[in-house]
Amino acid sequence: MNQKPNERFFPRRSVLKGILAGTAGLTLTDLAKAFAQPAAKPNAKSVIQIWMWGGPAQTETFDPKPDAGNNYCGPLRQPIDTNVPGIQIGQLLPRLAQNADKYTIIRSMTHGNNGHETAAYIVQTGHRPGGRLLFPALGAIVAKFRGYEAGYNSLIPPYVVLTQSQGRFDEAGFLGTRYKPFVTGGDPNATRFAVEGVVSASITEERQKSRRDLLHSLDSLRQALPDHPATQQLVGCEDKAYEMILGDAGKIFDLSTEDSQLRQRYGRTSFGQSCLMARRLVEAGVPYVTINYGGWDTHKQHFEAMRRMLPQLDAGMATLLEDLAERGLLDTTVVWWGGEFGRGPRIQWEAPWNGGRSHYGKCFSTVLAGGGFQGGKVIGASDATGENVAERPVYPPDVLGSICERMGIDPDAPFPNPAGMDLTVMPSGQEFGEGGGRLKEIM
């Protein structure tokens, strides 16, 4: 939409670097080549998905409608300028406003479904339900192609959810149990982030070891069946588990080593500290982290909820973007913010809603940052009241396919599946409607 002026002439940062390097020995031919075939951007390495379970209101976050009247904008009618001229966002997100150059807002997301589970499935798999297969969510796809099949062998599973399972929907789809996310449990904002199974509440290391010895001396069935596949599988898992429990891998969950001021900046809330934890995980190479951030299903007393929750979102997400950028991780980390749908643009003032917003899948917002996606832009637009897509519809598979591309996963490659069907990793958005397509504008 509004491309930054310098990028029109120097489409790739890597090219710029090339020019600077030119003085240090690059030939003219090299330069010419660089212009003729711009070097591909390096792939992103990780995705942090801020999953706004319940469906966050676009109106109060990234697509304010201050001129639509009280029945649409309610009391929060003073959106604020961001650090990108021409882009405004909701008034309760001042720190995100100061980071708008880092992300792109998609204001024309649409799939038309208003049921939580179905919409959550559509937004995370790129498929409408039905047919013979249940498709995997993006996290499971990344766990497969950038995790297990790319030689990922960290003790920490490639797909982690902070802190509670999304539930009601099987993220792994037809890929099976191995690709389900590791659910941490616990609370990263507690004194000790007790990740289920990794960090024990009360057992000392010495006792862990003597217990293990006892287990090994008493496990008679294991001794009777040393070569049985089940035994070998169990022993393999157990060795890894103990490396995690007794070794250094589990220390990643110890947030007490982080600077306390930084922890404050993230916000001392479960969400804020989950953002910090997500940064630590991608720093350690985990390719996919979901922060399952619930509470956005604000049918009733919506504005009270926004005043309570948006400052938490603002602190956590803005600090995450800043912290990733400061550490040089933002270029290789996609941050994907969004829920299964948005919320009804028209406010329900009547009882029992008393100023609520309903489910709305027809037009809502999503945010993408980092990982090679350009920031400081807006893709698409909603109409004056936010009820319809006005330009450039974006369908769920467009977003997912774009993230795949940035992650170095070819969305158009064949996708083996148990039904033996002729599938690609991500479908084109055609079944959703006209005018979509991957987000070439920001890639």
């Binding site: 049921g115 589970e117 179905t118 199974g197 990794v198 008679s220 890894k240 429990i245």
Partner: protein
Amino acid sequence: MRPILLAIVVCLVAHGGDETPVAASPFEQKSWSIPANGVDACVKTALDRKGIAFAKPCSDGVFIRRVYLDVIGALPEPATASAFLADPRPEKRAELVERLLADENYADYWALKWCDLLRVKAEFPINLWPNAVQLYHHWIREAVATNLPYDQFARELLTASGSNFRVAPANFYRAVQNRTPAGLAEAVALTFMGSRIASWPQPQRDNLAVFFSRVAYKGTDEWKEQIVYCDVAASAPLDVVFPDGKTARIPAGDDPRVVFADWLTAPDNPWFARCIANRVWSWLLGRGIIHEPDDIRPDNPPVNPELLAYLQKELVANQYDLKHLFRLILNSRTYQQSPVRQSDSPESTALFACYPVRQLDAEVLADALNWVGGAKEQYESRIPEPFTWIPREERTIALADGSITSTFLQVFGRPPRDSGLESERAHEANDAQRLFLLNSTEVYKRIQGSIRLRSLALATGGDRKKLVQGVYLTLLSREPTAAELAAAESYGKTAKVDANAATTDLAWALVNSMEFLYRH
């Protein structure tokens, strides 16, 4: 609690307390105490042909635990186990089988299995809705509890019409992702013919779909209510081709589903009895005679055709009484083998020359850990409408709804109930499971807070040996071997922990042992 405890102590004094040497392997006994039956004759013929030997007979301790877990999905009370171990009569195994087939847990456990295959879940992507799930589960459980003959069970499901909230089996036609004639045909073939329609030639697939082409759905004024009916009003006669190639003309006004059900449940139907006989075998012996049990096709022949034919014949001759089949298999030497095979032949597992070791079902393991005590998994469903609140004392195997969110059940392989495939349920270990069992607060609480274990400590009054024997009987349904007893007794000293901690650690070690976690 008290009478049970007393029984344990008495039993320990009577049987475990003296110096009688325990057999070297706790999993086997020297000789058979039961006669070979028709199943064994078939299995033996196949094994002899390959020169493969049967495994040894399993011990009584292994048998009681195995048959409890396999038949009712629960652990035996320690007092029950000790009485069984002490009983010298050879007929005690057959009597135990009879008792368990009549146990109320039998209905819960096998209703769970059928709800997997019939995809009973309230929500995405099946969308039966909560009221319908409760009704349908209740009906399935009743069918299992009353041992409804299997042909009638199938017929009622196949021919039902009515409201999803009022006519339970009508939900059969709603429990598919794809409510089209082709989608229904796929579900019917998978469920009752054990066949994946994707492997059929297209014309045959289309022919099967014709039988379900008049199934229709309509809404009512009640939220989430749906009527399943057969749309016969406008219909002309329907020409159909059965999967075996026979043809028929169904007169206008007749329900083609009834015609199909008649064909399917006829005693000489080549798919129907074969599919269920093979399934029952696979449920008890870990794999099908045709494997996988829901992938029957011409190029996937049975490994032991005589055995499958025998089971089929028994089932049809006994009016599709599934308990008859259970009884036949459970009382066979084949089923009562040790998990340790005697032959290194790679075919020994596929030909059933030992009992197959496999991890407990997720729900059964949840219940076993709850049974230890201290804490419980709590289930609820916020799927509207109505929200489902599940009483604390409800067992996990009795949960109706596959949509209920539970990280534990997901991690331990509960099937999502999306496809109806047997392979949806996972019985393999994974890293997350191991972390949970070895080191989670949940398992810690169950052991630390277990009233069973605490009462045992009190009742044995500081006698370490009796305590260890009691913990073994409670958690593993058997007595410790001499070596195990020695290791457990000396643990406190070597690990430098007090008596309470030593007991906790012993219980923790046994809960984490393969013997606790795997059917064996």
